[in-house]
Symmetry: none
Subunit: 245 residues, 2 copies
DNA sequence: TCTCCAAAGTTGTATGAAAGATTTTGCCAT
DNA sequence: ATGGCAAAATCTTTCATACAACTTTGGAGA
């Protein structure tokens, strides 16, 4: 009963779109390279039998897509193929040890500030989450996978406490890319060394937690910095020991 | 002395681009959701003091980017943001004022630490780049596009000085997403206010630069923090003042 | 109350004109 | 011829106006 007048489900034929496609084909068919000049607008109007308005809007669209660029008084030119929209190089996984260290350093900058902000803004619920993560960590000292999960939960709880979505997203995605799920203490041969290692982490976590609880922002930053610097140092030493290069 | 006449060093200020930025800000700052209707074209013409041609081209650009969608006879509507592929949510462009402020805060955490690392690691070449950026900034106080470029160059030079690829990548990509070219001071009506605004930025840059030059890492962090906090405050005040809701 | 239709509102397209900027052309002095 | 300089031609950008196509709205009439 609604087939009368209410909605045009089929896209209305827009001249601008036709011309846009036409221009794209013209570029491809004529084998135009970046830097080549398009015919002047008036000529395109005649060629497509449309007004300048239409041609101009089609060109504006292609400019927005990075396909064309125009120089006032000179002409419209084909531009380099648009940027790799595939996504941020920035978030790509590190490719070698040096890049891993770079990424760890970057992570530090984020999490240090996150700790400071968390100290200023944390709610009781946030503190509860951190405590849960810490006790979970203590409960699973023997299980690398679960301990790693608990460690992530702790850092994520801090990111949450910033009340800033961006920090939470970063910690989540970075964790996936940077820290394999069984990494924490997975390479110890001596059980005693491993226990000491994990207890160190635990006490560092506790210092961070206490600073956040007491709303001491600068102490929270300092504690987080020390915590992550320790992690970086441990990774560097480990990679040196395990890398023949 | 390359002030001759052969090279178009100055990017031509195109009205269409200004309106495009203006529309983007209008959408974000007014908290418009997908499906909301934009004011009619004629009203936008009056609001931006431009002809309908310009408004239509700006809209055409935003349509090409998938940000808007227009229905003939009805109006122009904000469209559902195109679902980005499996990429990182984290690096996505902020969608409303709150998210912009979140992103600014996140950026602070990165750049503050970058300033500290830069102070420890900067080379003479790094310092030279920063000086170039500052003098470029001073030289183009009237041109929003060029001043914004210079500002980006300065921050990028600092990121470079960390000798950590990740910082450089972040600053580059964040700049593209968060700071439209020609944004710096683009919304001042009083020329005197704008000049004061830009000179403030300049002197903040100088303080950061001096701390980095003298390898005073903590001072560099503090100066950068103050610089970015100023920017955040200015944005917040501006967005409050320009939100007629 | 429901249906239908006309008027108002909005986007799409066309056209003419002027302004801003670049490239080419033509001329003059050397 | 040659180099430089100014005018002309070319081209993009912007403005203003008009009309066509389509949607929405509100009221008249059943």
């Amino acid at each position: 009963m609604a087939e009368t007048t209410h909605m045009a489900d089929t896209a209305a034929p827009r001249l601008t779109d036709r011309v846009k496609d036409g221009l794209n084909r013209m570029i491809v068919d004529a084998g135009m390279r970046p830097g080549d000049k398009l015919p002047p607008a008036d000529q395109l109007c005649q060629q497509f039998s449309v007004s300048r308005t239409v041609v101009r809007e089609a060109i504006a669209s292609l400019k927005a897509e990075g396909r064309l660029r125009s120089l006032r008084g000179s002409g419209v030119y084909v531009s380099e193929p648009p940027k790799p929209v595939g996504g941020s190089m920035f978030m790509e996984a590190p490719q070698d040890i040096g890049e891993v260290l770079d990424f760890i350093e970057f992570r530090m900058s984020v999490e240090i500030e996150a700790a400071g902000l968390a100290a200023e803004r944390r709610t009781e619920t946030n503190l509860l989450r951190m405590e849960q993560a810490m006790s979970q960590f203590a409960r699973h000292l023997e299980d690398n996978t679960l301990a790693t999960d608990a460690d992530r939960s702790f850092h994520r709880a801090i990111a949450d406490a910033t009340n800033n979505k961006r920090f939470r997203l970063f910690v989540d995605e970075m964790g996936e890319r940077l820290i394999p799920r069984r990494a924490l203490g997975a390479s110890f041969t001596d059980e005693k060394d491993k226990a000491e290692f994990l207890e160190n982490i635990q006490s560092e976590h506790r210092r961070i937690f206490e600073a956040i609880t007491d709303r001491r922002a600068d102490d929270a930053r300092a504690a987080m910095r020390q915590h992550l610097e320790g992690g970086r140092r441990r990774y560097r030493e480990w990679s040196l020991a395990h890398d023949g290069a």
